[in-house]
Symmetry: C2
Subunit: 110 residues, 2 copies
Amino acid sequence: MGATKTDHFTAEQNELAVIAKALGHPARIAIMEYLIKVDTCICGDIVNELPLAQPTVSQHLKELKNAGLIKGNIEGTAICYCINEPGIEKIRGFFQHITDHLDKKRKECC
Amino acid sequence: MGATKTDHFTAEQNELAVIAKALGHPARIAIMEYLIKVDTCICGDIVNELPLAQPTVSQHLKELKNAGLIKGNIEGTAICYCINEPGIEKIRGFFQHITDHLDKKRKECC
DNA sequence: TATTTATATTGCAATATTACGATATAAATT
DNA sequence: AATTTATATCGTAATATTGCAATATAAATA
């Protein structure tokens, strides 16, 4: 095969995987970090910041947007991108969940 | 092309991407959730839990272990897997960083 | 030591991702 | 209206991932 068996998992699991996958590339981590730093920017700023061509950056932005991690507003000829808080909270909740369990049990594994 | 330009990004960015990528598959999210629930288990338990063949589960476990999200201890003929806290803290720190910035600025994007 | 039990590795086909040149789109400016 | 500015989409080559059958490994047990 090669295709992920998406239908065998819950919507929640698939949604979390989509968000995590969106962050599973150093360029997209770099974009997120840059967005944190500058708060808001346009695609061209990122093209100047990263060693990637414009279509590649555009594609990465699309994936981050699709995963709900960023949002973009049209501003003249440009599109203004920034972090989308609900998306961040979604994945952060997953890690909080894990940490809560680890704190509660506080046991050395196997 | 097709290969990720890993060398153009920082070690930190690449490490975070590896962790996120490891979680970028519903089966691996499901494995993490199962591990949270049962605290510790062997590969065979996961094979019984998920709709995937043994080699596939073994492969997913390898990726999670490689990313530092889980660890495994040999226990007779079986290998006992559980969550690796430092790996969780690493990626959780990234989201904490984002959340801290969002809280501080509290501004509607563009 | 032969068998059982549990997991890992290999090999391979199907599919997905990455990157970018070329091109399209769309709003602003001249 | 032609040009500029900024981004998106298309097409495509290179590479990576997913999933599993077959097989290998390795410790425990009979």
